[in-house]
Each structure stands twice: as structure tokens, then as C-alpha cells.
Amino acid sequence: MTSDPKLESCALKPADIARRVAAELPDGAVVNLGIGIPTLVGNYVDAGRGVMFMAENGIIGAGPKPEPGEEDKDYINASREPITTLPGASVFGHADAFAMIRGGHIDIAVMGALQVSAQGDLANWTVPGVGKGGIGGAMDLAAGAREVYAIMTHTMKDGGLKLLEECTYPLTARRVVTKLFTDIAFIEFTPDGPFLREVAEGLTIEDVQAVSEPALLTNGPPGALMREETP
């Protein structure tokens, strides 16, 4: 994630971040998973928890990847990957899918982020320059889902910061991120500001603050971010 060797050695792998996000989802929630690390989250949600996955191309109740040779080209997710359906699934067109999203019927959108601001602004659809990225469903999901869980590496590869006072990349939506999961921290956005809930094992509050532009609120020592070896 970064040029800092201490941060790098303690940083969570994508699968560990996905596992932490999965643990945070409330049982029974209707969840939309974005492209990238968010797609991994589904792998760590036990079926018994009643979480339903919705994709904006028109499905609620998407199941795991089909076995090789079992793919059906008419059944894909928003990342255009083949999917299966679970008992009780439903399919519908785009007008209905986005009515659900804007209408507040989706509990949580889990989205990759490029930058997040102190106020919970989200930038994740493009970077400055010509001919990059696409909006897709990101602006609708960010504005419409009841909560937005954002996932990103805490810093850029060159050490540049991504948790900022104000985003410098084009915005996806203002004041929407409720929880941010990075490779070194779990941060919750409260009316008073970003609150540092958990820190990767081996790191301190100061380590995380040093790579975060806004002041992080704390209340005693934060918890340890869950890892694979944690039962």
C-alpha cells in the first residue's frame, strides 16, 4: 500500500479487509457489492445470516460463482461476472433496480474508494485526466443506499494520502460514507468527525493519524482489526 515499511508489514490483505467488512454487515441486510475488493465480501458472509446481495443490473439473491462450464450468459452481476441464483432470488430491469436504490430499499452499498473526505465525501469513479473511468451506478448507489461502506488502501502506492480534508478527485457523492475500511484501519464517520474504531495489529493510533489528513477521533485505545488467524 505504501512506501512505509512498518505500515506495509502490518497492512491487511484484500481478503482480510473483505472479511472485516463481511463481519460488519447486519444480519438480514440487503447489500450491493461494488467492483474490486467489495466483490470478495460475499465469500465471507455465512448463508445463515440472511444477507441478500443485490446487483444494479437487476437481481436480488445472487449466489456464488457457477462451476466452470455451468455459466449462463443471461445471469451476470454488475461486474459482468457469471453468477448463480439462490432460492428466493428475483430479477428485474434497470428502471426497477435503480428505483430500489434511490428509494432507500438497499441497506448498504459496499464500494471501492479512491479518496474519502473528513465529511464522508466519496470519490471513486474517475481520476483527473482525459478518457478515464466511468460513472456506472456509483453515483446512484452512493446517494441512494442507506449506508455506504467504503474500502480502499489507506494511502497511494507512492505514499500519497487518500483520507483527506476534502477530496481532490471528481466526487461521486457528498457526505455519504458511513464506514471506511482500509488496510490499516476501520473508521466510522460520526457527526463530530471520523472516529478511529480499529487499527491493524502492530500499529498505533499515531501511525494511522500520520497517514490521515483529518484529525481522527478516539476514545481510549481502538480495537485490533480482525485478521485471518483471528478466530
Binding site: A55, E56, N57, G58, I59, D72, K73, D74, Y75, I76, N77, R80, E81, I83, V91, F92, G93, H94, A95, A97, F98, A99, I101, R102, V130, G131, K132, G133, G134, I135, G136, G137, A138, M139, D140, A143, G144, P170, L171, T172, A173, R174
Partner: protein, 229 residues
């Protein structure tokens, strides 16, 4: 039985699409794309088309067959620069095609509004972003919202799974995507299907798109044509 909606070929079904038409083109990823109609359109003289579709094409199939023939003046889509939209990217960087990018749900709802007789609507999507630039915004019930207008087409070119000869349609899986809403938003809707059945075979309560939205139906000549995803 009204079967004059059934056309003998994709070529016949798209034969009178005029220059400069705005085309609502269904499909998302590789699912629900009217591949045979697109191949027929690429062979057809109509040009300077504006195409409204979710993404700017994947690989060499789908929309790319029109782009390769220089038929398209402008694309209105939600996702332009996917790495596999290389045909579009090249044209765009050479200044040979215009682009308007908008949020996917706003696109769907603008098309829906066009088909449903709604003059305009306010939505929270895109407030405070490039998508709202130059548009009226206001606060309604404490929420900032942006004014959006209908997005009709001259011709909807869509894909369904089955049609009856009256033009009633059903879709399969996630291949519905933009197809049902686009069927409502153009005076001429041309549908590629995998199977055409007699009226009554599709039970009334199983119809997804009622027949009055559909003017032409054709069975796709090569059902194995698929856009890469």
C-alpha cells in the same frame, strides 16, 4: 392474429432507420444485447447516429460493430472508459465521437420518464458532482436534488428472450437490464428474440413488456453471437 410485427430478417427490421436517429440500445455487459440487429445496422447506410446505451462497448462485438463502421456521432452512456471499450476509446481520443456520461440510474429514469409522460423529475443522484453541472438544483424535504429531463429515442433496438407474434415480450435472468424500459421510450421499438411463439403461449400474467410498446420482432439469425464481457 396480428402477425405483421414479425419481420423476416434483422436486415429488413432495421432497413428504414434514418440518418441522425437517436437509438436506445439495450444490454448490460454481454447480456441482453441485440447482436444480430447491430450487425444488420452496421451494413445499413444510416449514419450520424446518437446511441444511448449503458456502456461504450466491449471488445469487437455489440456496439463496436457500429463504431467500426463510423455510424455513430455521439454516445450517451453511464460507463465510457472500461478497458475493453477500446474501439470507442480510440475514436474518442481522435475526436471522432462525442460523449455524454451520466449516472446509470439517472439514465434509466430519464428513459422511463420519456416513456411514461413525465416532463422532468428531481433526483438526489449526482448532486455536488460533475453530473449536476449546469443543471437546476434545489432542496426538497431537506434533501438536495437535481432536475433531470426525459431521454427519448427515435428507435429502440432491444433484445428479449421470447416474443409472441403480437409483440408481447419476456426476458430471461439479468438480460432484461435496460431493454424493458427502452421499449417504452421510442415510437419505433425493434426487438431481437430467441424464439417467436403464437399469441396466447405467453400467459398474460407472464408478459414483461406488453405488445403495444413493440412494433417489430425478429428472431436473431445467429443466436451464438455474444459480446465479450
Amino acid at each position: 392474429m396480428t402477425s405483421d410485427k414479425v419481420y423476416p430478417s434483422s436486415r429488413a427490421a432495421v432497413a428504414d432507420i434514418p440518418d441522425g436517429a437517436t437509438i436506445l440500445l439495450g444490454g448490460f455487459g454481454g447480456a441482453g444485447i441485440p447482436e444480430n440487429l447491430l450487425v444488420a445496422m452496421a451494413d445499413h447506410p444510416a449514419r450520424d447516429l446518437t446511441v444511448v446505451t449503458n456502456h461504450a462497448g466491449f471488445g469487437e462485438r455489440g456496439l463496436a460493430v457500429l463504431l467500426r463502421q463510423g455510424k455513430v456521432k455521439k454516445i450517451i452512456c453511464s460507463y465510457a472508459f472500461h478497458r475493453s471499450a477500446f474501439v470507442f476509446r480510440e475514436l474518442y481520443l481522435e475526436g471522432k465521437i462525442e460523449l455524454e456520461q451520466l449516472p446509470q440510474g439517472t439514465m434509466a429514469e430519464r428513459i422511463r420518464a420519456a416513456g411514461a409522460g413525465i416532463s422532468a423529475f428531481y433526483t438526489p443522484t449526482g448532486v455536488g458532482t460533475q453530473a449536476a453541472e449546469g443543471k437546476e438544483t434545489r432542496t426538497i424535504n431537506g434533501r438536495d436534488v437535481v432536475l433531470e429531463h426525459p431521454l427519448p429515442g427515435d428507435v429502440a433496438v432491444i433484445k428479449a428472450h421470447r416474443a409472441d407474434a403480437m409483440g408481447n415480450l419476456t426476458y430471461r435472468g439479468t438480460a432484461a437490464n435496460f431493454n424493458p424500459v427502452m421499449a417504452t421510450a421510442a415510437p419505433l421499438t425493434i426487438v431481437e428474440v430467441e424464439e417467436i411463439v403464437a399469441p396466447g403461449v405467453i400467459a398474460p400474467e407472464s408478459v414483461h413488456t406488453p405488445s403495444i410498446y413493440v412494433q417489430r420482432v425478429v428472431r436473431g439469425e445467429d443466436l451464438d453471437l455474444r459480446s465479450e464481457t
